[in-house]
Point group: C2
Chain length 214, copies 2
């Protein structure tokens, strides 16, 4: 008798992710898997993105949290296509959870799905959800050393986002250090810096999405 | 043949944690397991704590990160008893890692050991390290909704710390909401609010440690 545990989990996830990816491609949906620490501002970025694009594109959001519907309710004020996944303690979403969420979204109608992963810089990195882009967002108040301390998520992300640049002036965040550390890990990755709150720099992010829509 | 995986891991961890706890008690060492999101300011709090207590007590620090010795180097500028644990990707410390780190600390001499866990609000919660106190630190810039979105860590923590209150004025953080949500989860838990950077409010934290020293 063979004992297969971890490998099976990852293999099963990979298979389900490929099924999700095929479904997304069949429906011409751009899918973004957004990762960050708790409180870096994923939900605010998603809301600001919706505000800027909802008159031209149909956007759906899948919200991942260990519990609560707090963020989903905030997004529901702006669009109808929101599904909350409560992982029940697990520190990341997986491809099966996404598959279940998709049954509650109108795939024929949507142009973009943004998946807000559980707030965590470590666990979500290894779990493909079938997305087109895995994107990490760091924020100024977390400090400039996040690429040094959490390399894998920065290696796998393109682009890399930096939020809350309105706080640069009152912090000791060294933007040159941050960008050079990201470039060491991910030489071909673009870095976009902005403040979701003030809107400064968000145009580049919105243009990037427009270019990637299928 | 029985397949036992997850339970064994947790049982084994619990057994090792009890061994660590006995060793800490035998040596009269106060042990704090400090948890937070990435960038909430654990390292800065530890350094400010060391500055205020090192002339009266011997302090050791165990630094947990998935990779790098970045934080340990910063702390080494203030005290000699620092051990870095690189988890190699794991999102939390476990009791065996602590056991290995202890062999590099002078247990006869130390009065306090602060364990800086991996930056993560989810995974470290379930892993007892043998500590006296598991303490979560949230920070103003993460937003006031962390207790709603990550309940388990707030349930298990006493006291609950809130850092970066120097940013309260320029943020929309609702201190009343934060404290009432923490109280719902953890009615008997104390809440200490401060800014490690400015020093405001840190006296209460330092007094708390002084009272707990064995």
């Amino acid at each position: 008798m063979k004992i297969e545990v971890v490998e099976n989990v990852l293999k099963y996830n990979k298979d389900q992710a490929e099924k999700n990816r095929k479904l997304f491609n069949k429906n011409n949906i751009l899918v973004i898997n957004l990762l960050s620490s708790p409180g870096a501002g994923k939900t605010t970025l998603i809301i600001e993105t919706i505000k800027r694009l909802k008159n031209e594109k149909n956007i759906g959001v899948i919200e991942g949290d260990i519990s609560s519907t707090y963020d989903a309710e905030k997004i529901k004020e702006h669009i109808d296509d929101v599904v909350q996944i409560n992982t029940g303690g697990s520190c990341h979403l997986n491809a099966t959870m996404i598959d279940q969420a998709l049954s509650k979204l109108d795939m024929d109608r949507l142009d973009i799905i943004i998946i807000e992963n559980v707030g965590n810089l470590i666990c979500p990195v290894g779990f493909d959800l079938g997305e087109d882009y895995k994107i990490v967002m760091s924020s100024v108040n977390e400090g400039d050393d996040k690429p040094v301390k959490y390399p894998p998520v920065f290696i796998k992300s393109n682009p890399v986002l930096l939020n809350k640049i309105d706080l640069l002036e009152i912090s000791d965040f060294d933007l040159g250090f941050f960008t050079s550390e990201v470039k060491k890990l991910n030489p071909s990755g673009d870095i976009m810096i902005f403040s979701s709150k003030s809107g400064k720099g968000l145009d580049e992010w919105i243009s990037w999405i427009r270019k990637k829509i299928k």
